[in-house]
């Protein structure tokens, strides 16, 4: 392992959270513009996080509460380590040769579980309700997501993300064109995964006081927000790797990830919120049907 890759390993989490938070800021700006507002500056989320880090006090409800943001960010950074960020000549692949898509799928949940445990220990019933809703919704979107991923893995005869990227060597070989059904199913799942408007019932601020994080404040919330930004970045990069053939430099990466970021954002602006069981069963109708149609294509 040479010095450059070690530097990237250290720097990548920071870049990831910065990019993720900035995307969220841009998202807020776009929402404001749709609503005929001026909107906050695009770095607003970064400022928010810095403010949270600068809070002087914090309370804890117990050991899991204290560790939860810590473990959550561990899970996200570990996921980031296994997702190839850039490919090609100046590839940034971190540890992605040592783990495949199945590992990424499972290690992604690690942080969420920690958050759920921390929320559980906060003793606030709203947090527990939020977690229960979140898990229910997760089970919903996981079905089309898994259908899409299995389609990709079977089609490419590999479970390694590196090889899936390598198979998409030219524009027309991108999986978005190669397996459009899988792409659509995965995109529906992405809406649920990002937790934007129609699927934000786990966090519904007006009903259950922002759900799982409702007891977290100060440094804990700061760590959680950093984690949120980084997690969004990881998911975006993973989708770009899977469907848009990865990126060869940072400019392309930013363009592609931002394109993906816009989709749930625009869907979210114009939609109200689903109820919990609707949010779950929604994914088992059209998204699953589309995914299964993709399956049949693979089988034939």
């Amino acid at each position: 392992m040479d010095i450059l890759s070690i530097i990237w390993i250290i720097v990548m989490p920071f870049i990831g959270s910065l990019v993720g938070l900035t995307y969220m800021g841009i998202g807020r700006k776009i929402i404001a513009r749709v609503q005929h507002r001026y909107g906050p500056p695009i770095f607003q989320n970064v400022v928010d996080v810095i403010k949270l880090y600068s809070k002087r006090s914090a309370i804890t409800h117990g050991v899991m509460f204290h560790l939860a943001p810590n473990i959550a960010i561990t899970g996200t950074i570990s996921t980031l380590m296994f997702v190839p960020v850039l490919v090609g000549e100046n590839a940034i692949s971190l540890f992605s040769f040592q783990g495949d898509l199945i590992l990424i799928l499972y290690i992604m949940v690690f942080g969420c579980l920690a958050m759920a445990l921390g929320a559980g220990q906060s003793g606030n019933p709203n947090s527990a309700i939020g977690v229960s809703r979140g898990l229910t919704q997760m089970f919903g979107y996981e079905i089309p997501f898994v259908i899409a991923l299995v389609t990709l893995m079977v089609q490419n005869e590999t479970t390694s993300v590196q090889n899936i990227i390598a198979a998409q060597d030219s524009f027309m070989h991108w999986n978005i064109f190669q397996s459009p059904f899988a792409f659509v199913a995965a995109m529906f799942a992405f809406l649920g995964m990002m937790g934007n408007k129609p699927f934000d019932v786990p966090f519904a601020p007006a009903e259950i006081a922002s759900g799982p994080p409702s007891e977290f404040g100060g440094k804990y919330l700061a760590l959680m927000q950093t984690n949120r930004g980084m997690f969004a970045f990881v998911k975006l990069v993973l989708y770009v790797d899977l469907f848009l053939g990865g990126a060869t430099n940072f400019a392309i990466l930013l363009v592609k990830t931002f394109a993906f970021y816009l989709i749930p954002l625009f869907v979210g602006i114009v939609n109200p919120r689903f109820r919990t069981e609707q949010a779950m069963t929604f994914f088992w109708k059209w998204p699953t049907a589309i995914g299964l149609a993709g399956f049949l294509l693979v089988l034939l």
Partner: protein, 180 residues
């Protein structure tokens, strides 16, 4: 010397960040609460100054008290304030919080919020228009920048005085200790 420099830089950054990111917990007590939605939404758009609503006191920076406080509500407001994480600021909104306003001789509202919680800034008016509210926020930002929005320190230092005042009006005082 070097350490001072680091502290100084940290101070500047945190001041700047605190100033530009105010998460408001609007405790909609009196009639003034009606002015909060227009302040936040399209017409006046407070979000452009980094002012957003927050759902719980743990996450909030500013406690916005919009109007008269019944004694019963005061207890909840104190509780909410004490659950917030410092540094935290209190905004009194409307003349009711300043001197009782049109409720000055009411039997169960408090007159001066200042006696019970360390108010950093008052907004005058009955009720203040959104422009005035935003003006108040900008004033608060200036205070933060100047380092004079020290209500939370004051509260910690004079906790006994505040407690005595609070207990004078709230008879069924059954609350956990203050944790900041």
């Amino acid at each position: 010397m070097k350490e001072d420099w680091g502290k100084e830089a940290g101070n500047i950054i945190s001041k700047w960040a605190r100033k530009h990111s105010l998460w408001v917990l609007a405790y909609g007590t009196g009639c003034g609460a009606i002015e909060i939605p227009p302040t936040m939404t399209s017409r006046y758009d407070a979000e452009r100054f980094g002012i957003t609503g927050s759902a719980t006191p743990r996450q909030a920076d500013v406690l916005l008290i919009t109007g008269y406080l019944a004694v019963k509500t005061l207890k909840r407001v104190i509780r909410t304030y004490e659950q917030m994480q410092s540094p935290k600021y209190v905004m009194g909104f409307g003349s009711c919080t300043i001197n009782g306003g049109m409720y000055w001789d009411s039997y169960n509202t408090i007159k001066r919020l200042d006696d019970y919680l360390p108010v950093d800034i008052f907004i005058n008016g009955c009720m203040p228009r959104p422009e005035a509210v935003i003006d108040g926020f900008i004033e608060l930002q200036k205070l933060i920048d100047a380092g004079t929005a020290q209500g939370w320190v004051k509260y910690k230092e004079n906790l006994d005085t505040y407690r005595a005042n609070q207990k004078k009006v709230i008879t069924n005082w059954k609350m956990p200790d203050y944790n900041w």
